[in-house]
């Protein structure tokens, strides 16, 4: 039962290519999204399908480097590479692409991507709080609303927007409940399973269907933990479980933080698990970074409500970015890790520099800390392995 549920998550991406194609043929519109800053609720309220776009694999990077500089973050190169080689089906189906100015590299890449498809770029302030910065962000969300209405030929009513807000809030809660099961020792999910669940959900055309899948998965995981506590066998070989034979309970618990990770760019998660560690929690974009954030009902205007939620995302593009450290501190208390791995994709200056503050936090908590700067390629696997193994030896 649990195995099938997990397999459903591994299969979301593939299944939804066909589903989205069918829905397209029936006249539904598709909006492609790269980043958690994009208010999905607006797309849902417009009756369109918000879908994650490919950008976590190494394969199309060579093609991207025909246009983009080599010393750019692999996520930007991969995203553009998939688009320009027409190998991301979700990009192909998208009527509009939404990007954000989360970094200079992306901002300039989106200008070039605009030659392939209509791209709407949201101008993101790099400061939280009230005043002009917040007003800019509210205006940007209104501008996105207008663009979606125009591009998709659909009205977005406040009523539909509140409904979509409820749906996305429910999804956030459902994901968080699953992630929180990993507070226990042994964790409910290994690192690759956790990644498959949190990352794959973004490719689904059926949002409320995904919420149901998440709820069912949570129930099955709780059931397994219950049985394990009662002394029954809990061994559940499934995709990602074959990586190593080290039992879950004897693995040093690792908290992963830093740049976004997805399937295809999971090499650090995989190496930690292969070397006998357990990635129990991920403070990154697909993971915990957004899970405490729900859109509140205290504002009359749903756009203002959305603006309050999204501006809080503790992306390293925000300055200062205190909430990330607060979140990490809470996660260290809740998930009880033995070590912290901080992943920076090559040329991501903001996460690279924030590593300084994360290292200090880890030191304050007495936790071994490892900062890795790498890209999507396999070229430095051996070098990463030594560092990760040494970290786990320190944690044991």
């Amino acid at each position: 039962m649990l195995t099938e549920l997990l397999e459903d998550f591994w299969a979301i991406r593939e299944k939804n290519v066909i589903k989205i194609k069918e829905l397209k043929e029936q006249g539904r519109k598709v909006v492609g999204i790269y980043c958690t800053f994009c208010p999905n609720e607006l797309v849902i309220a417009a009756g369109a399908i918000p879908v994650g776009l490919c950008g976590t694999r190494d394969e199309p990077i060579a093609a991207a480097e025909e246009t983009l500089p080599r010393n750019l973050c692999p996520l930007i190169k991969s995203s553009y590479g998939f688009a320009v080689t027409d190998t991301c089906p979700f990009f192909f189906f998208s009527d509009l692409i939404v990007g954000e100015t989360t970094c200079d590299g992306k901002k300039k890449m989106f200008e070039i991507m605009g030659e392939l498809k209509p791209v709407h770029v949201m101008q993101l302030p790099n400061l939280k709080g009230d005043g002009l910065y917040f007003q800019l962000w509210v205006d940007e969300i209104r501008r996105l609303r207008a663009r979606l209405e125009r591009e998709l030929c659909a009205g977005i009513s406040d009523e539909a927007l509140w409904e979509a807000i409820d749906l996305v809030n429910r999804e956030t809660r459902a994901v968080k409940e699953i992630c929180d099961l990993n507070r226990q020792d042994p964790p409910a999910l290994n690192g690759l399973e956790l990644l498959a669940v949190v990352w794959s959900k973004g490719f689904s055309a059926d949002r409320s269907g995904v919420v149901d899948m998440l709820v069912r998965l949570k129930e099955a995981l709780v059931e397994r933990q219950f049985q394990a506590a009662a002394g029954k066998s809990c061994c559940c070989p499934g995709p990602g479980r074959e990586a190593t034979s080290v039992p879950q309970w004897s693995r040093p618990r690792v908290l992963l933080t830093g740049c976004p990770v997805g399937l295809g760019s999971e090499k650090v998660v995989r190496l930690v698990e292969e070397k006998g560690g357990a990635v129990v929690a991920m403070e990154n974009c697909t993971g915990y970074k957004t899970l405490e954030l729900e859109t509140g009902r205290e504002h009359d205007d749903p756009i203002v409500a959305l603006a309050h939620k999204y501006i809080r995302i503790p992306c390293s593009c925000m300055s200062p970015n205190q909430y990330r450290l607060e979140l990490l501190e809470r996660m260290i208390a809740d998930f009880n890790p033995c070590a912290v791995v901080d992943l920076t994709w090559q040329a991501c200056h903001t996460y690279n520099i924030e590593a300084y503050a994360v290292e200090r936090l880890a030191a304050e908590k007495g936790l071994p800390y490892l900062h890795l700067e790498t890209d999507y390629s396999a070229s430095d696997r051996e070098a990463l392995k030594v560092r990760i193994e040494a970290l786990l030896e320190m944690a044991r």
């Binding site: 071994p368 070229s379 070098a383 030594v386 560092r387 193994e389 040494a390 030896e393 320190m394």
Partner: protein
């Protein structure tokens, strides 16, 4: 009881055999087959000590070739092994700097050689033995001759961190008539600067002990001390710190 530690580096393979009373060591070039070299090390150590394979309780392997060894009972990273090996010889050590063939690393250690933190060079060869090896070749010398051949009185700076670019840089310097001794001193300063920066970033704790094959080069040792502005001890038997640590850890495992 008898324990063996093997440190299969990118250039040299080191083995240490420990009995309760004696210690045997053996050095071989790693060559193209780390697995085969490891086997030869064990056989050589057994011959040296007059012991049989069945006398050996446990073999621990470290170094980049550690995974290629079928004979190893366990593998441990170079980080933990160097820390353990140096701490055994220098109980007051706080920092280990190991400059090997393809890696250089700085390890902060506590009591008993417990690893507190560590830093390693990135993907590239800057600040490693490989860097010196390539430069020695460009100067038509053997890497072992560099230490004696330097002329530190000359103020030559090698700016390129990249091994390939540094090679062109010294070709250019030679063309300008700069002496070989001056260039070698510049190369040693380059390695010293690179490793010292890594150490300072991690935080230097006394006493600083230098291990690894490059520690045998007096020029690098001098440059490192100058750049670091700390006094540095070259480990006795600096080539074997990692292997000795592996052998000690072999004896401490359950």
């Amino acid at each position: 009881m008898v324990f063996i530690g093997l440190d299969i580096g990118s250039v040299a393979a080191k083995g240490v055999l420990l009995t309760g009373e004696s210690r045997h060591r053996l050095l071989l070039p790693t060559g193209w087959s780390p697995g085969e070299t490891g086997k030869n090390l064990i056989e050589g150590l057994l011959r040296q000590s007059g012991l049989r394979r069945s006398d050996v309780k446990r073999v621990v392997a470290t170094g980049y070739g550690r995974v290629a060894l079928r004979e190893a009972d366990r593998t441990v990273t170079e980080i933990s092994c160097h820390a353990r090996g140096v701490a055994a010889a220098y109980p007051d050590a706080g920092t280990v700097i190991d400059i090997g063939g393809q890696d250089s690393k700085v390890i902060s250690i506590g009591r008993g050689g417990k690893v507190l933190n560590f830093a390693m060079n990135d993907k590239c060869a800057a600040g490693t033995g490989r860097f010196l090896q390539v430069m020695a070749a460009a100067l038509d010398m053997d890497i072992g001759e560099l230490g004696e051949a330097e002329d530190p009185s000359q103020d030559v700076t090698i700016n390129s961190m990249c091994t390939v670019f540094a090679e062109s840089e010294i070709v250019g310097l030679l063309a300008c008539g700069i002496s070989r001794g001056g260039i070698i001193a510049g190369l040693h300063r380059s390695v010293g600067r690179r490793v010292a920066a890594m150490a300072r970033r991690l935080g230097v704790r006394e006493r600083v002990v230098l291990s690894g094959g490059v520690a045998l080069n007096r020029g690098v040792y001098r440059a490192l001390q100058e750049e670091l502005r700390w006094s540095v001890t070259v480990a006795d038997d600096c080539l074997f710190s990692g292997a000795a640590g592996a052998a000690l850890l072999a004896g401490e495992m359950d």
